[in-house]
């Protein structure tokens, strides 16, 4: 599975919605229920599933799903 496909599975689980199809342009405004608290659930799950850890700066600069994928892939490439 690609990173995007793996992330899509996480989105479906976190937001309890089997119909979610993520795109790089997608933001919190596009997903019902994506609030600050469910965002913590999303990040916690992403970190656990990919065995990575985001810095505060990375979290603050992630504006959409594409940014999240970019940070996941750069961490996986760096072996973190």
């Amino acid at each position: 599975m690609t990173t995007m496909e793996q992330l899509n599975v996480i989105f479906k689980t976190v937001f309890d919605d089997d119909d979610i199809m993520i795109t790089p342009e997608m933001t919190a405004n596009d997903v019902d229920g994506w609030d600050s608290l469910s965002h913590i659930n999303l990040i916690t799950t992403v970190e656990a599933r990919f065995s990575i850890r985001f810095s505060q700066k990375e979290l603050l600069t992630q504006k959409n799903v594409g940014d999240l994928i970019r940070d996941i892939e750069s961490k996986l490439a760096a072996g973190n």
Binding site: V14, D19, N29, D32, L37, S38, A48
Partner: protein, 539 residues
């Protein structure tokens, strides 16, 4: 000008048709700003026609006065049309926070015996999972499908296209049931707080006297319509005065919020302490160039407003923030800071004229100045709830004689200012939302690995109180990151995202008294590193 004309107390009528009759038909009732910044203006005439159309939709479906409709929507214009349309028909309208999970929805829709629900496609699946247990729920109206899916799953737009916008609300007496909000207690299921149409008298009065709104204002209330502030002051109070509102469909975004205040020339702003504390944490560059000249007043509600935020607002925004206090049960502002009153930072302010407030001991005796006790209100305010739906005993238990016990503790100083001290029960106030520890504990016990659980609220600098879960696992399970995620997501999806524990603490056992009641005060003392006090009743 009299609010009630010809004995017509109908909230839906007063907020729409009456405004048109008073010459405001072409005036903007609300500017809808979507999460993507698209803007659409709706006039009072639009609001009247769309809500009337929806009243006709409900009537054609066989809804009768007194039956119950819920909205389960994120912030969308349909929320307002449905809410006011239902009230026009004297159908009781309940509103549900759009992040509620299955359990929270089942408790509320089931208890109310709701006949209909308005929702969106993305939220429909939650309802489908529990519909089998909701024997009264006949119709689900979906706002973003074009065609009916079945005889019971209906398209909002198709229904609205078939209905006329000509509807005259029946003469509605002040005691007619109107709005239903569910509120959490420390034990048992959430309780349905039922209001009646006369509440508009107090919501109108406080919008005028406290929020200082008049015809020329542009008002922005950031509260979600799933909670009482969102209906009392995001709909009823301002529109009963013919005030233009900004309705924003997105979530918190500091830059965007300041842009909205500036670009929409908001004159009165009503928000929550958590949001204000979040803004306070932003870099000053964010709001330095922001022109807030139009902004006359800022108000807050939901949790105590700490003095630091007031100081920040004075220094940075050049404004006071007036903290207001009320509850779902009171339906409108009761104790408040306001422009005509000197603000004592950290205080709740003073009661409104004509509303009797007292600090009473547990035995009902009045307490003097500077003594902490139960915050109580004398019966008589028009916006007070009329009952807890299907739970008259719980309603009665809140009153002793003429006094309503709010469940909050407070003290009054010698000058008559009130100071919030805390809750007299275990209810958790997270960012202005009341969370029942019982509901979270119930959700936790649904997880196979969890043997026992105890949930408390602990102080938090940003959100006032955070949810802390103590969990005892069954012996065969071990704690892991995966289990933490499972627990977080389960609570989020069964109860709501706001109920998700911020911290999970694994323990060997949950302290209970001899009758099996969870001793949350012992857990709280343990968490805060304090003395747990008398443990003689511990099992």
């Amino acid at each position: 000008m009299n609010l009630v004309k010809n004995d017509q107390y109908n909230i839906g009528h007063i907020c729409t048709r009456q405004q048109c009759d008073q010459g405001r038909g072409n005036k903007t009732a609300f500017r809808w700003v979507s999460a993507r910044q698209e803007r659409i203006d709706y006039s009072f005439s639009d609001l009247d026609h769309e809500s009337s159309r929806f009243a006709n939709v409900l009537q054609a479906l066989g809804f009768a006065p007194g039956e119950i409709l819920f909205t389960f929507l994120p912030r969308t214009p349909e929320q307002f049309f449905c809410f006011l349309g239902a009230l026009k028909l004297q159908v009781v309208c309940g509103t549900l926070f759009s992040n509620f999970g299955d359990d929270a929805l089942l408790d509320r829709l089931g208890d109310a015996g709701a006949k209909g629900l308005v929702t969106r496609k993305s939220l429909l699946k939650k309802i489908m999972r529990i519909w089998g247990q909701l024997t009264s729920l006949k119709y689900i109206i979906v706002t973003d499908i074009d065609e009916h899916q079945s005889a019971n799953i209906l398209s909002y737009s198709a229904l609205m296209n078939q209905a006329t916008d000509d509807y005259v609300a029946p003469l509605t007496n002040p005691q007619t049931p109107s709005v239903l909000h569910y509120t959490s207690g420390s034990t048992g299921k959430p309780k349905g707080v039922l209001h009646c149409h006369r509440s508009i008298l107090h919501q109108n009065r406080t919008a005028r006297e406290v929020l200082d709104l008049d015809d020329s204002d542009i008002f922005w209330c950031t509260a979600d319509q799933g909670w009482v502030t969102g209906t009392s002051y995001g709909i009823i109070g301002p529109w009963s005065l013919g005030v233009t509102q900004i309705q924003y469909g997105g979530s918190y975004d500091a830059k965007l919020w300041f842009d909205l205040l500036q670009d929409e020339a908001v004159t009165v702003w009503y928000s929550a302490p958590t949001a204000l504390r979040m803004l306070m944490q932003e870099a000053p560059e964010l709001y330095k160039g922001c022109n807030l000249k139009a902004l006359r007043h800022i108000f807050s509600v939901g949790e105590p407003l700490n003095p630091e935020v007031i100081t920040w607002a004075r220094n940075v925004l050049g404004k006071d923030i007036y903290d207001t206090w009320f509850q779902t049960e009171t339906g409108g502002i009761i104790i408040t800071n306001r422009p005509a009153l000197v603000v004592r930072p950290g205080s709740m302010g003073m009661p409104l004229d004509g509303i009797e407030v007292a600090i009473l001991a547990d035995d009902g005796q009045p307490l003097g100045d500077n003594q902490q006790g139960n915050l109580c209100l004398k019966s008589g305010c028009p916006s007070m709830f009329t009952t807890y739906l299907n739970n008259e005993s719980a309603y009665s238990s809140k009153f002793r004689g003429d006094w309503y016990y709010t469940g909050d503790t407070a003290m009054r100083d010698k000058d008559g200012y009130y100071w919030f001290k805390g809750r007299s029960d275990d209810v958790i106030n997270t960012a202005g939302h009341l969370i029942s520890p019982f509901e979270v504990e119930s959700a936790l016990l649904e997880i196979d690995e969890v043997a026992e659980s105890g949930v408390i609220g602990a102080p938090d600098e940003l959100i006032y109180e955070k949810v802390i879960a103590f969990i005892q696992l069954h012996k065969q399970y071990v704690w892991s990151k995966e289990l933490e995620i499972k627990i977080r997501l389960h609570v989020s999806n069964r109860a709501s995202s706001i109920a998700t524990p911020q911290e999970i603490i694994i323990v060997d056992g949950i302290p209970k008294n001899k009758s099996g009641k969870i001793m949350r005060r012992v857990l709280k003392a343990y968490y805060l590193g304090q003395d747990a006090g008398d443990l003689s009743t511990l099992d």
